[in-house]
Every structure is written in structure tokens, then in C-alpha cells.
Amino acid sequence: MKQVNTSIQSTDDPLTPAQVNSLYLACDDTLDGRYAFTLLVLLFNTGLALADVRNLRHGHLNLESKWLTASHGLQRARFVPINSRLARAMRTWLQRAKPQRYLFGREADGRARATVSELEARLQRVAMAAGIHFTPPQAQSTLAHHLLHLSADGEMMRSVLPPAEHSHMRLPLVHLPPFSAINRHTEMPLVAKGFIPLPTEFTQPPAEDDIIASGRELLERIGEIL
């Protein structure tokens, strides 16, 4: 048997299902606890980065067709399939917190957009309570690790966990006279060369083909593990 040496940064180390469960159990039944729990389920079951999560709004989530739209940058967005476990957690979160604008805002009410640091701080509090070293990139690494051990390969990973640069579409741009203001739909400044992207909820998710169907099966199994 060949000797394999691996050096890998500690931040990449995947968590075991038991460690993930410990994080979940460290979330209490307060609104803040439910916030952290739902955020963890989202991270471990989609591989989204916090930079994507902070932009999520109601129009980006479709619990019926089980897709969410993750915005990346000003002009690009991608569709990410979600499994039953995450759909249940999101339903509970929406019913309980009733976030207004952002699904994971600065506060549970979702009125103001959270920063990445604020989301990280919420997760760190849970990690400390659970006694586990955890960083958000580990959620991505953990999901990838378990998908690969369920026999996913790169091609399938591309369909179910598209990297941020893999955009399913370029958002159509609307030309506006440049002036300094914030668009109330996108929260983006209207000064960037006089163009703004249309909100992503105007777009349709990709057709469900065999690869996506297989990917969804794997994601459902992930929901039983993570």
C-alpha cells in the first residue's frame, strides 16, 4: 500500500457527524439559539459561505422546489439545491423569527444585513458552548468530505455545490443614471458605472436533470448525517 502524506490546514479539517451534532445540541431554544441552529444546518447542508448567507432574502429561497439562489458579487448568482432537513429547519426559522428582509440578518428580525463577522461571532459562541474548534470553512469542508465518502465525484459536486465563481447566470443589468444612493431591493449602491443587477428572484432554477437528481439523493443522505 502506498504511503500517503497529507499536510492540510487545520481550518480544513472536516468535522465528524458527532461533532456536528454537538454543535446543534449547543444551540438553546431561545431565538438566538434557533438562529444559530438554522445557520449551522444551512452551512453544513449547502456549503454556502457566510458572504453568501448574509445576502439571503425571502425571494432567494424556494422551499417548494427546494432551491435557493446565492448571490455572488454584483452580477452573478447561482442556484443551490437544498435537502429536506434544511427545508424543515428553514420553515421553522421563518415561522418563529419572521425575518423581515434578510433571512439571517444582524438580529433575528432580519431588518439589517449582518456582516460576515457578526455571523462568525454567532457561530463562535455556539462552538465555545459545544467545546469544539469550528470555523465556517470547515462546514464546507465537512460537507464535501461526507459527499465524497458517499461516492460523489467532482462532476456531481459541480452540480450540487457549485463554487462561487460557477454562476448559472449573469444577472441582467439595468442601466440607470449614476447617482449616489442605495437600491432598496438589492441593497447595492447605484453608483457602479450607472448599472444595477436585477434582483435574483426574477430568474428560474435549472431544469432537473439526472445529475441534479443524483445530487439531490446524495444531499438527502447528507441530511441524515449532518
Binding site: 502506498k2 500517503v4 499536510s7 492540510i8 480544513d12 464546507q140 465524497l148 467532482g154 455545490l161 463554487p163
Partner: protein, 120 residues
């Protein structure tokens, strides 16, 4: 067995590449950007680099230029990990001396095929 560095800021891509390459018995280390990769290159012999283009701190094109400007790393094959719709970056990487391209996260047969082209 080859000594390989995977450079990508996405933990998902790093994990996928590492998993596949290890299954073929290769020695794999990972870096989250070009600067981390340069540090690793100083410390270890490297036969092949898989490198993302768009990364924070030091991107893949800057890393590629640095490698091609130094004698000790000039001949190390570099496979760029690309996303769809980034033809301009791809052309630039080719001009800077990239040895191949992979759509990420790459499938096993894509990785094996590109490695067969660049490794002796």
C-alpha cells in the same frame, strides 16, 4: 507518486481535489492562496500544482508569473482550475505558461487525463 499542491480558496474544491488525488496515491498539500502556496513550495519538492485563478491575497495568475520567473520553479507543471465563462483569464493563464486547465471541481477522469499529459 507525485508531490502535488492544490491551491484554491474554496474548501470544497480543496477537499475534492485532495480526496481524488490521494486515492491515486499522491502526496497532496493544500493552500488557500498563492502566497500560502509559495511558502509551501519553499519547503517541499513539488511535481505538480493545481491552481485556482480567482483567489484573495495572491491570485493564480500572480502565482503563475512568480513561478515562471524563478529558475527552480519554471518547469513545474501548473494546471489552472477554472470556472465557466472566464475565457479571458484562461487565455491570460495560457500566455503566462499554464500547462492545462480543469473545470472545477474536476471529475476523477478529468484529473487523471490532465495529469497524464503533464507528468512524465
Amino acid at each position: 507518486m507525485a508531490n502535488i499542491i492544490v491551491v484554491d480558496d474554496s474548501p470544497i474544491v480543496r477537499r475534492t481535489m485532495m480526496f481524488t488525488l490521494q486515492r491515486y496515491g499522491h502526496c497532496v498539500s493544500v493552500a488557500a492562496n498563492g502566497r500560502e502556496a509559495l511558502t509551501q513550495l519553499q519547503d517541499q519538492p513539488t511535481d505538480l500544482i493545481f491552481c485556482d485563478i480567482d483567489m484573495p491575497e495572491m491570485n493564480g495568475l500572480d502565482l503563475l508569473r512568480q513561478l515562471r520567473s524563478e529558475n527552480r520553479w519554471q518547469t513545474v507543471p501548473v494546471i489552472m482550475l477554472t470556472a465557466s465563462g472566464m475565457d479571458a483569464d484562461r487565455e491570460e493563464a495560457e500566455a503566462e505558461g499554464a500547462n492545462g486547465f480543469l473545470l472545477k471541481p474536476a471529475s476523477t477522469h478529468e484529473i487523471v487525463a490532465v495529469m497524464a499529459k503533464v507528468l512524465p
